[in-house]
Assembly symmetry: C2
Homo-oligomer: 120 residues x 2
Amino acid sequence: MPVIPDEFLDLMAEKFRMLADPTRLAILRALMAGERSVGQVVEETARNQANVSKHLKMLAEAGLVSRRKEGLQVFYKIDDPLVERLCHLVCETIVEEAREGMDRRRALLDGWGGEGRSRG
Amino acid sequence: MPVIPDEFLDLMAEKFRMLADPTRLAILRALMAGERSVGQVVEETARNQANVSKHLKMLAEAGLVSRRKEGLQVFYKIDDPLVERLCHLVCETIVEEAREGMDRRRALLDGWGGEGRSRG
DNA sequence: TGACTTGTTTCCCAATCAGTAATATAGTCG
DNA sequence: CGACTATATTACTGATTGGGAAACAAGTCA
């Protein structure tokens, strides 16, 4: 378990910052299915074009996605294997927390074991 | 490979946002070695106390760390297994990117194979 | 009680950020 | 060339953020 060096903190924070916005996550989610043009991403994310374009630029500059131009269109795709892994990790955690929350509520209703644990 | 639901995007963004700051990462790094009092964290992170206290509060509210009071001191510890996994993933990536960068620079100097690949 | 220690909170400031509308660029087609 | 399409950029706004100083709260000890 190596200790994280000081000089890494800023770089790490920058990576995380890229993922710390719902619009960017929506964009990345769209790109997880494969390469997409800006227009396609705009459709799938239901955000306006300028907004998507700006976020795509940020993601590209951070090295998370790559750009390819073809005629009028520009295609982006995920270029950092880290992205999907991080997203899925966090996603799973949220699912788990949601389930824990549900379990806790149900346990309260049921009375925490002991008396009458009938479930019907 | 499940698709990320819309309602998750904000929750995911919030998790990532907590990790998107160098000071918070420094604090978490200190806590990775085990439970620490606020004062200890202040020392290890070389930030002032009000600042550390504020960030610890954010982390606690986000559920990433837990609080325990004992006399005058307050002890915090990491309470979300996700934290270390995310940090190490990102950390490894940065190491790898740094190495790739070095390889690329060295390749330029060496002339990319072919002529005279003597190294002494 | 009052001095002291440890942490927390409040207030303020400068910086950053996300979203939007308008404008600009670049490529295609006639 | 001009009309059109896809994308990028700029200018602006309101909201959020991180940091610092100072006041505040809580616990200890004499």
